[in-house]
Amino acid sequence: MKGRSLYLDGVTVVFDGFRALNNLSLVVEPGELRAIIGPNGAGKTTMMDVITGKTRPTSGTVRFGDMDLTRLDEPTIANLGIGRKFQKPTVFDDLTVFENIELALKAPRGPIACIKWHLTGEAADRIGQVMTEVGLVERAHDPAGILSHGQRQWLEIGMLLAQDPELLLVDEPVAGMTDAETEHTAAMLVGIAGKRSVVVVEHDLEFVRALGRRVTVLHEGSVLSEGSIDHVQNDPRVIEVYLGR
């Protein structure tokens, strides 16, 4: 395992006077699976935007190993090994499931490299393996546009796996999923962690409980509480701002 940790220290993001993140500090160790919960507007998505280079922090430090992420753009950060799954599944509708995963597959990303690219047996095997993992083998040659909502979520997770990132940021992976799908997703993320670090943002407390790992509660842009799910659920401050409602 390569082992780089994600390190946020005193990160503040101000949009038009609104503090989306307020002096947020957080460390995710290599191989760790971390759940992040918090009410709407707590800054969960902004935090992901800052890590992936979409938003520049007003102040503070964001490091991945020894790389300063605040100076890099999205593709560079993605190529460093940080993958992101969006809240609303975004896959490429006109491309097939196979082609979606092929694009995500770790490979040189420049125009010339893409023109020269041809599918080796190894790459095809890897794509097949990913499709098996997310249960989309039968849909390999269907355009992603005709997949169901759940299948699109799977495909996006498959694309993350194909990217082979060191750190996965997963935004609300079980939104709109059935109970069985939710359980399966939890098991899958637990399986992925260890080999990679995973940060999951989720509203669904049952899902977070199923993950059974360390939980960080965000509130108004900073960390309110951190610990096991039982610990945070019994934290009076958490009960007041979030769980108590």
């Binding site: 593709p75 491309l95 694009l103 990303r109």
Partner: protein
């Protein structure tokens, strides 16, 4: 892994379309030959048909280049006519230099308009254009460089959608105004005309017409093969991905600015080549070629044919221009209304263009 997963499904350019294209190219190739038949022959094709078809072939290459940028990379350029015109001007400069002392004023070096405007020596940017290879290089480099600069600034600043379209429209408009000025050194509003020869071949003769016609056809087939090959690589799928969800492609690690720039510059170069072959066939180039209307018309060709298919761009360029040629002589006042109406109708009823219509008919029969 036992799952049979060799490659993505076969090319989208289905067998039927390919056969259709081959037949179309053969029919086009026959036109100059039929033109040489005696006039009373039933198969004789008039000079008019040959020269107008030669023009359409150049338009088809322009449409193809636009489809690469718009249909695949999602760059709706409303200024592609500028690249076409710049290629045309570069060729025009070569043709002007070849006139030599045969101009009306008989100056050994300076083209007529320069003598008329009181130039005493050739402006620096006119040097080198007497050489054909140099002029051909400029035909591609000048539009390519403009696309590189405009594209770099726009894509890096993440200007997309309608803002990008407005920007490209402004680009061609600004160039039109600039080329209208006499002191730009490009002949002002008269542009260039009275060309004498190209590669030692006197222009305006049936044989020159045939040579230029075949050169355009070769360019068309070559561009089509290039674009088809390119869009079938992973690069083509990256462009589609950028078109449909650019931000997602960035988070996958694709530097979308570079990818779009590559497609845009390549597209501008193809448009420049099309313009370069267009000019000797029509015998004139003037700033009117930069007019925003020309660029918009090219977008309509692609939309009518069906964008993102390449074949659709060709179909659109030929059918809309055939309609234009017929209507502008049959009922000249109606043409602009017809063009506008066509665009509205296609947008409302045929979002995938004529190609989409064929698909629908085929599926309807199959069901």
């Amino acid at each position: 892994m036992s799952i049979a997963l060799t490659a993505p499904p076969p090319s989208r350019m289905r067998l039927g379309i390919r056969t259709g294209l081959i037949i179309a190219v053969l029919l086009l190739a026959a036109l100059p030959i039929l033109n040489m038949l005696p006039r009373d022959s039933a198969f004789h094709v008039s000079d008019f048909i040959v020269s107008v078809t030669g023009k359409w072939i150049c338009y088809a290459v322009l449409a193809l280049s636009l489809d690469l940028a718009w249909g695949y990379a999602g760059i709706l350029s409303l200024g592609h006519g500028a690249f076409f015109a710049l290629g045309g001007y570069a060729m025009g400069m070569h043709l002007m230099r070849l006139i030599g002392p045969r101009g009306a004023y008989g100056h050994p070096v300076l083209p007529d308009f320069m003598v008329f405007l009181g130039y005493t020596e050739l402006p620096w940017f006119w040097h080198g254009f007497q050489s054909f290879p140099y002029a051909m290089l400029m035909v591609m480099l000048v539009p390519g460089a403009l696309a590189l600069v405009v594209g770099f600034l726009a894509f890096r600043s993440r200007i997309t959608g309608v803002y990008l379209s407005i920007l490209t429209q402004a680009m061609t408009y600004a160039l039109m105004l600039a080329f209208f000025r006499n002191d730009m050194g490009f002949g002002g509003n008269n542009g260039f005309t009275d060309f004498k020869e190209l590669l030692g071949m006197p222009l305006g003769t049936p044989s020159a017409r045939a040579v230029l016609f075949y050169a355009s056809l070769v360019l068309l087939v070559g561009s089509m093969l290039l674009c088809a090959a390119l869009t079938r690589t992973k690069y083509g799928r990256v462009l589609t991905a950028i078109r449909d969800a650019e931000s997602r492609a960035r988070f996958l690690g694709y530097d979308t600015t570079r990818h779009k720039l590559f497609a845009f510059v390549l597209s501008a170069m193809l448009a420049g080549l099309a313009g370069a072959l267009y000019v000797p066939q029509v015998g004139i180039i003037n700033p009117g070629e930069f007019s925003p209307g020309n660029s918009i018309e090219a977008v309509i060709w692609v939309a009518v044919g069906g964008r993102g298919t390449l074949v659709g761009a060709l179909l659109g360029a030929f059918s809309v221009n055939a309609l234009k040629t017929w209507l502008t002589s049959a009922a000249p006042d109606l043409w602009l209304f017809a063009l506008g109406g066509l665009f509205v109708a296609v947008t409302l009823f045929l979002p995938r263009g004529l190609i989409g219509l064929f698909d629908r008919v085929k599926k309807g029969r199959g069901a």
